[in-house]
Amino acid sequence: MLRFVLRRLGLLALTLFAVSVLIFSITQILPGDVATMILGMQATPQDLATLRSQLGLDQPAIVQYGKWLGGVLQGDLGVSTRFQRPVTEVLAPALRNSAVLASAGILFAAPLGLALGLICALRRNSPLDYAISSVTIFAAAMPEFVTGGLMIIVFSTWLGWLPPFAGTGSARTLAQSVSELILPVLALSLVILAYILRMMRASAAEVLDSSFVKAALLKGLDRRRVIAFHVLPVAIGPTLSVIALSIGWMAGGLVIVESLFGYPGLGRLLVFVIRNRDIPLLQSIALIIAAVYAMANLCADIGQRMLDPRVGTK
């Protein structure tokens, strides 16, 4: 087990290194360089040259990459060209806001998806199962801005229950902040809720039909005990990887949902940064998202091995 974890950690580091190269090279071919962004269009060529050498932009790409990576490893992400402040300072509040949104989404979608998936598997082909499965096929397919937009129309425009924007700073009380979060969280987690549910239904159904569950039932164990201690741990295994993939999916979802609701998180910052060609900030955000995504996948693999000892022993 320890060897497995260590090997996967090594692979993770390698992948992140490769991703950092990928991100760096994509941002290198961006039109318009940092010096022009800082000084504006009216800058003289001399000023531009001076600033470029100050920033090290006149050095070969490989040297620049080395410097950037060295900085990143020491926690120095550089200076945002747009905000003229350290990247870490700009990122911190956005990262916190996004973390709130994303964890609320996972905390909502994962338990609900697992529970509903198990119920569907236990009552396969019942009207309830048909109803839930039909709804999920719709929910899973829709882009977030479509479901979010429709929810805004229903809950905000027609019913007037919830505010159509979130995190705008207009909320005064805790209740107001919470009500602002409801629609974005729903829009963000509907897709992953559907996936978790469908995966859980499939894997729980498979486990329920397996011989070890039948044996447990036939030797007279209580049905509830069998479901809780025999079925659940094994059935959750494959679902965990879907939950981990969902975290990666959320990185994309956050960009959409935050833009839709005007929520001041990482996703909206990313769109802003791309529009303004703020390269240091752009590199950092992409790297953070890749790191979170990779770690989520790693956790899922480790979790699956711990829950189901058969995995990986073949």
Partner: protein, 290 residues
């Protein structure tokens, strides 16, 4: 369906959407997709107004007999814009999916058949591309290339190649050692002839499902990128962009958001349902494209 593979007591795991009737499960989505394709071809001719004309009526008026879907903030006819918008998103999605899935499947099949160093190198490359979530990778590529239809196709293709490669590779792997492959090899067939003439016909059903799922994802990605402003540029009508443009007056003119949202929603659901009907193990497949 799939009755031959199901042992006694094991129920088929296909999602029971649209009841148990397989024919209906296939026919309804096919009809909807066909309708959208017709819309893409004939939509611009059927539009009562030019989609870019300002002041076809008073701005932000609700659905009337003159404007079935109402008008937007510039007084443009939402119905015409929805009709005309079908062409760009469907065309871009189909082209991008064709490129991405064919390239990915070719790479995956070659990688799976050849094995060894080629396989190892290609799959590590795939891992790196998969380390970034799809939308983020597409955004980064579009950032460096600039937003346009062609670049959108390039970005989606790059996003799709690694995923399709994995699917095709795992479809090929169990077939590698089979007798007919061996026979082809012994009679001196080259590797590309074995991959594309012996192996490919046998995994074609899987590749068809892959194409369908990926097409649904392309619709989702392209409309999302349009929504963020990185897709088709204004004034060309684009469903995603229409929603983000109308976002700020959703409280006074909900129809400007509602109808484009409906247009995207229906086609994406239909293509997904089609992929589900084509594959008997919908859940496992669906999880692959997250």
């Amino acid at each position: 369906m799939n009755a031959r593979a199901a042992p006694v007591g094991v129920e088929v795991l296909a999602p029971p959407v649209f009841g148990r009737r397989y024919g209906l499960r296939l026919a309804v989505p096919v009809a909807i997709v066909a309708f959208y394709l017709l819309l893409a071809v004939f939509g611009p001719m059927a539009a009562p107004y030019s989609p870019t004309d300002f002041n076809t009526g008073p701005p932000l008026t609700g659905p009337t007999q003159l404007h079935f879907f109402g008008t937007d903030g510039y007084g443009r006819d939402v119905f015409s814009r929805v009709l005309v918008g079908a062409r760009s998103i469907l065309l871009l999605s189909i082209v991008a999916t064709l490129f991405g899935v064919s390239a990915g499947c070719a790479i995956g099949m070659i990688s799976g058949y050849r094995g060894g160093f080629v396989d190892e190198a290609l799959m590590r490359l795939v891992d790196i591309l998969l380390a970034l979530p799809g939308l983020l990778l597409a955004l980064l590529i579009l950032t460096s290339l600039g937003p346009s239809g062609v670049n959108l196709v390039i970005a989606i293709t790059i996003v799709f190649v690694p995923k399709s490669a994995r699917i095709a590779r795992s479809a090929i792997l169990p077939l590698r050692g089979l007798g007919y492959v061996e026979a082809a090899r012994l009679r001196g067939a080259r590797w590309y002839s074995i991959v594309f003439r012996e192996l490919m016909p046998n995994v074609l059903p899987e590749l068809a499902v892959e194409f369908c799922l990926r097409f649904a994802y392309a619709l989702l990605l392209i409309s999302s990128l349009g929504f963020l402003g990185f897709g088709v540029q204004p004034p060309t009508p684009d469903w995603g962009l229409m929603i983000s443009e109308a976002r700020n007056y959703v409280s006074i003119a909900p129809w400007t958001v509602f109808f484009p949202a409906l247009a995207i929603g229906i086609v994406v659901v239909a293509v997904n349902a089609l992929a589900d009907a084509l594959s008997s193990t919908g859940e496992r497949r669906a999880a692959q494209y997250l």
